[in-house]
């Protein structure tokens, strides 16, 4: 099973797409979209990364096993960041008035 060799223009096309996306993300940074700025920047970054992975790194032509490796790495990274952030976000949660947690807190205080 020999590998299919893509023509040069295939790679150039991907390159052009990446350049365009870079220019877009840089330009959008100068426009005030509030919270959306971050979202748009990350979405564009993910698109660029996907293009590199699928076409420059030939993941599109690879077996499922190789894709699992990449997906696993991304999922594990998400677990690291996600659960750590869940700690940070919920550290200062206070039980709402009237809940059983609140009364437990009340009872434990002198």
């Amino acid at each position: 099973m020999s590998e299919h060799v893509h023509p040069k223009r295939f790679y150039v096309a991907v390159f052009v797409a990446l350049v365009v996306l870079t220019l877009v993300t840089t330009t959008v940074a100068f426009v005030d979209l509030g919270r959306l700025n971050t979202v748009v920047a990350l979405v564009i970054a993910v698109c660029k990364a996907t293009l590199v992975v699928l076409f420059f790194m030939h993941l599109k032509d690879q077996t499922g096993l190789t894709r699992v490796v990449l997906i696993a790495a991304v999922i594990w990274l998400a677990v690291l960041i996600g659960i750590t952030m869940s700690d940070v976000f919920t550290r200062h949660w206070v039980p709402s008035n009237g809940s059983w947690q609140a009364s437990a807190v009340m009872q434990s205080q002198p």
Binding site: L65, W76, V79, L80, I83, S86, D87, T90, R91, W93
Partner: protein
């Protein structure tokens, strides 16, 4: 499973991997996975001696409530050295690099691992890291505890944190490359007919372990690099003075730290499967359950790390989730215990050393695992955290579990590795000493923790002395139990009776080749047609 009586006395093969080539160059530049296993065996035994020495000194010190030998500053260095050496330089490597390296290619029917030169490089990286680390110990040591918590390790400690972290950082890459090598080997180099569900369960465990290596060790690597940066340039990512969060360090550390302990136990569980199958001459009960349990342990182990941080100010709600998942991760381990026990039922159980170690594992790991649940539940952990209860728990799983598996595996496969038999009577005796000594050392520590003795303390209230003395006495027995195999293994490698290809009459590709094996393992690539542990009814009653 006593030695099968043969028509002719077994002889050593004329040419095998040990005598195929001579001279130090043939060893230090070898790419043969079997020789690399020996290189590791010698290196890690040396590190075990260092870790064992620090433990000996600790237990000696704790004979007296006021500390017999050491000031707290020195005692801190001892328990830090003990933890770092045993975890990063002995246990992490023990089964994977010795038994894994030797057996994985043979068990799957391959000539070598996927990347033999990378395998050798892994060993050199390990030696470099270990040398730097030992030098850091000899020039003053570290006193922060093996967990290197900030800001003590980054800002306030005036000990060799930098050189120690550099040594561990380097050694970590050895493990990453080994894990990578094993994953590719197991995926790509299996012999024809060796489907996933015909693999020995040891391979399943090693595969799961390798996945954890690859995903967890890079995180400790970057965390150690950040500590080093802080020590050198005082740039404080974890520095509260800059708004940094020391808990971030703990998140990063334990994201690695918890899967790390599963790196330490999973290979041992794989060995136990092999020991029980060979020792009962029976297929492991519920093969697929045991195989899948290894994979699920590897996966869930990454989501429970916060149970080390219940008392740090971590969110209580995150703690609840971590606690629940910690209970969940106990389930696949329990599945294994049930399946091994079920295998023993109506099996032809032998009482040779490998099986004795396996039986010891099943009992001791159960205790260790159950006591883990006390710590996984937040309410009880509030009282038990940082006490000797924790110390007892993890020693039950790490020593009663992991090391028993390592010793049992060494005994089972010693005839394969050397072509000679170890003395069985001495082996049983040593196993008994290890078992008794171990329980006497760590059993009292559960009680000590429960009544409130903190860990990492050089001194303690006088009313705890009896339990501490019992523990130290047990440690001396345990030490003898470790030294005896060292002696008879060396003796047997030189002068033991010849073993022959299959002294146990066991199933598995490794028992179909000569002892010791030829350099390329198989004359011809085997074609696998039978299931793992294919003991027929007629074989169940031999011996």
């Amino acid at each position: 499973m006593s030695t099968v009586a043969l028509e002719t006395t077994p002889t050593l093969p004329e040419v095998h991997y040990l005598n195929a080539d001579y001279g130090w160059r043939s060893w230090l530049f070898t790419t043969d996975h079997k020789r690399i296993a020996w290189l590791y065996l010698i290196s890690i035994t040396f590190m075990f001696a260092i870790g064992g020495l620090s433990a000996t000194l600790m237990r000696l010190n704790l004979i007296e409530p006021s500390g017999l030998l050491f000031e707290p500053a020195s005692y801190n260095k001892l328990f830090t050295a003990h933890g770092l050496v045993m975890i990063f330089f002995f246990l992490t490597q023990s089964i994977p690099t010795v038994l894994g390296n030797f057996l994985i290619p043979i068990m799957i029917g391959a000539r070598d691992v996927a990347f033999p030169k990378l395998n050798l490089l892994s060993w050199y990286i390990y030696v470099l890291g270990a040398t730097i680390f030992v030098l850091s110990l000899l020039t003053g040591g570290v006193d922060t505890g093996w967990t290197l918590y900030t800001p003590l390790s980054t800002t306030y400690a005036n000990t060799n944190v930098l050189s120690a972290t550099v040594g561990i950082f380097i050694a970590g890459f050895s493990s990453i490359l080994t894990g990578l090598n094993f994953i590719v080997t197991i995926h790509k180099m299996r012999a024809p007919g060796m489907t996933w569900f015909r693999l020995p369960l040891f391979i399943w465990s090693m595969y799961a372990t390798s996945v954890i290596f690859v995903l967890a060790m890079p995180v400790i690597a970057i965390t150690l690099a950040l500590i080093a940066l802080e020590r050198v340039w005082h740039v404080g990512i974890f520095d509260p003075g800059l708004g940094g969060d020391p808990i971030l360090f703990q998140h990063l550390f334990w994201f690695f730290g918890h899967p790390e302990v599963y790196i330490l136990i999973l290979p041992s569980m794989g060995v136990i499967s092999e020991l029980v199958a060979a020792g009962c001459r029976k297929r492991i009960f519920g093969y697929s359950f045991v195989a899948f349990s290894s994979v699920s342990i590897a996966a869930i182990s990454f989501m429970v790390w916060g149970h080390h941080m219940f008392l740090t100010g971590q969110s209580v709600y995150a703690g609840l989730v971590f606690s629940a998942l910690s209970f969940a991760v106990a389930i696949p381990s329990a599945v294994k215990i049930f399946n091994w026990t079920a295998t023993m039922h109506k099996g032809s159980v032998s009482y040779d050393a490998p099986m004795l170690y396996a039986i010891g594992f099943i009992g001791l790991f159960t205790i260790g695992g159950l006591t883990g649940l006390f710590l996984a539940s937040m309410g009880t952990d509030v009282h038990l955290h940082d006490t000797y209860f924790v110390v007892a728990h993890f020693h039950y799983v790490m020593v009663g579990g992991a090391i028993m598996g390592y010793l049992g595996g060494l005994h089972l496969w010693w005839p394969k590795m050397t072509g000679r038999l170890y003395p069985e009577a001495w082996a049983r005796f040593a196993c008994l000493l290890v078992f008794v000594g171990f329980n006497l050392t760590f059993g009292p520590q559960f009680i000590l923790g429960y009544v409130g003795m903190p860990r990492r303390y050089a001194v303690y209230p006088a009313e705890f002395q009896v339990l501490n003395v019992l523990s130290s006495a047990g440690a001396s027995i345990l030490a003898v139990g470790y030294v005896i195999p060292l002696i008879y293994f060396i003796w047997s490698a030189l002068k033991g009776p010849i073993a022959g290809p299959n002294p146990w009459g066991a199933k598995g590709l490794e028992w179909t080749i000569a002892s010791p094996p030829p350099t390329h393992n198989f004359e011809r690539t085997p074609i696998v047609t039978e299931e793992a542990y294919a003991y027929g009814p007629e074989e169940a009653h031999v011996g």
